[in-house]
Amino acid sequence: MTDSVLPQSLGDSARGDRWKPNRSLSKLTQKLIVLLFGAFAFVSVATTIGIVLTLIFETIEFFLEVSPWEFFTGTRWSPTFANPRFGIIVLLCGTFLTSVIGLLVAVPLGLLSAVCLSEYAPRSLRAWLKPALEILAGVPTVVFGYFALLMVTPFLKTFIPGLSTFNSLSAGLVLGFAVLPTIASLSEDAIFAVPLSLRQGSYALGATKRETVTGVVLPAALSGIVASIVLGVARAVGETMIVTLAAGQSPTLTLDPRSAVQTMTSFIVQITKGDAPYGSIEFKTLFAVGMTLFVITLVLNFFSFWFVRRFQEKYE
């Protein structure tokens, strides 16, 4: 009580000696806790900054040897050849192809399952279907990759002529199923969170269930749905094992889903599998490709952040 600047309380004599708070100890504990948690927070932030700085420095090194002009406009990719070429467009095209095929599967199916789970499925069914969906998201992607290579590709070969063993179609389809739970689960959360009062307001106007879902509930959940799709896109772009195993390792500039392609991620796998000596051009290429991936996902995240901020409705 001695270090308090507050006036002594009037009833002090009556309160006697029963109240003796150890204020200096509580203050010390408080400071220690802040320090401890601050240190933990610092580690994760510092790691991120470290990664980004490494990426930036090695990418600068790379561009000292390779002109940005060739990197962004070249149409051939062969950094390990005697006559190396560095046209990132080839890898971007591979990533684009597999991601688009994947999203063509994941977005419609994901949204439909989200609407179905949230609005139409009985509560009891939702109670076990939703966790099941989230388990699907936890299946290691290497399993999906082998499934694509050993099951889906042979099956597709039976009716698609000219399908090569490694192809972006099969990889993209399976990639879609790997991303689907992310989109479905997060959109379902957004749809389910739409307040009951809005649904009641719609029904009270004589709306049917379908009119309520399409006219009120989905627009109200739009920001969450878009966020889930953006996250799905980021996952598809960054997905590694499925495309490495099923889409192949041949960097080809093509939009033909039947042929083999190489994505940015599978290129990184290819180089790190072998032994690229430190400081070699292959080694620096890794970082340049990594930087490209990082920038793409960063832009997606910024977009998602902006969209959610712009369109999120605040309900009480």
Binding site: Q200, G201, Y203, L205, G206, A207
Partner: protein, 271 residues
């Protein structure tokens, strides 16, 4: 609906908009309100008052069958709307709700523009006329037009709570219902917004029949023509069951109630 009405009931009741006959309201096997008998007159404001948990909201939500959204909710008895049993299998609750609009306790505008908040109900009900004109007419009828006429494309959530509630009233009257149910429409509003809504109700009763649930006894005495007082009593199982104590002209309920309980309640002795 029109043909259906005349088929199932040759005698159309014009005096009584609703007639509740010996009706019990249930949630699952729990009896929530028992034995209600009530006649709601047309073009009047009828207030439901009573302490929390007495089932006045439950009774209100059965008039447009909004309680159907709760799977376990059901009634035993008979509620007729102009002579037609609204719980009859042939009655489509979607049709019924188009005729019987509702305004909720908390303003619940859709996350759309002010314009689309009103246009939504009109579109789903197949409105063929001039939409701009309907929006203007509805907003004027709900005394909101002057405040929002320059920002119809702004979000319905961007205006104040009192304005949102009048937007919800505009939305309800845009589809030209015959009855408007109001479930404590002013409980989330400040006194000035409340006053505006009450003035609005006086204007609306020329064209609509209004049933309002309110916790506020002064509000009931100010706005309503008829008042129904509900009370609740404890059951053996530890729950509560509501019942209608007294139903009469508002003036009579507040000045010369016939029941002891009503007198205690309106004089503020409990509740």
């Amino acid at each position: 609906m029109q043909s259906q009405t005349s088929q199932s009931s040759p005698v159309v009741d014009t005096e009584r908009v609703f007639h509740v006959q010996n009706t019990d309201y249930y949630y699952g096997s729990n009896l929530a309100v028992r034995g209600v008998n009530l006649e709601i007159p047309g073009n009047k404001i009828t207030a439901f008052i009573g302490p929390s948990g007495c089932g006045k909201s439950t009774a209100l939500r059965c008039f447009n069958r909004l309680n159907d959204l709760i799977p376990s909710a059901h009634i035993k008895g008979r509620i007729t709307y102009r002579g037609v049993d609204i719980y009859d299998k042939q009655v489509d609750p979607i049709e019924l709700r188009r005729r019987i609009g509702m305004v909720f306790q908390k303003p619940n505008p859709f996350p759309k523009s002010i314009y689309d908040n009103i246009a939504f109900g009109a579109r789903i009900n197949g409105y063929q006329g001039d939409m701009d004109e309907l929006i203007e007419r509805s907003l004027k009828a709900s005394a909101l037009w002057d405040e929002v006429k320059d920002k119809l494309q702004n979000s319905g959530l961007s205006i104040s709570g009192g304005q949102q509630q009048r937007l919800c009233i505009a939305r309800a009257i845009a589809i030209e219902p015959e009855v408007i149910l109001m479930d404590e429409p002013c409980s989330a509003l400040d006194p000035i917004s409340t006053l505006k809504i009450e003035e609005l109700m006086h204007e609306l009763k020329e064209n609509y029949t209004i049933i309002i649930v309110t916790h506020n006894m002064q509000q009931a005495s100010r706005v309503s023509d008829k008042t129904a007082f509900f009370n609740a009593e404890a059951t053996e199982k530890g729950g509560k069951v509501g019942y209608l104590v007294e139903y009469d002209d508002t003036q009579k309920i507040f000045s010369d109630p016939q029941q002891e309980q009503t007198r205690d309640y309106v004089s503020g002795r409990f509740g």
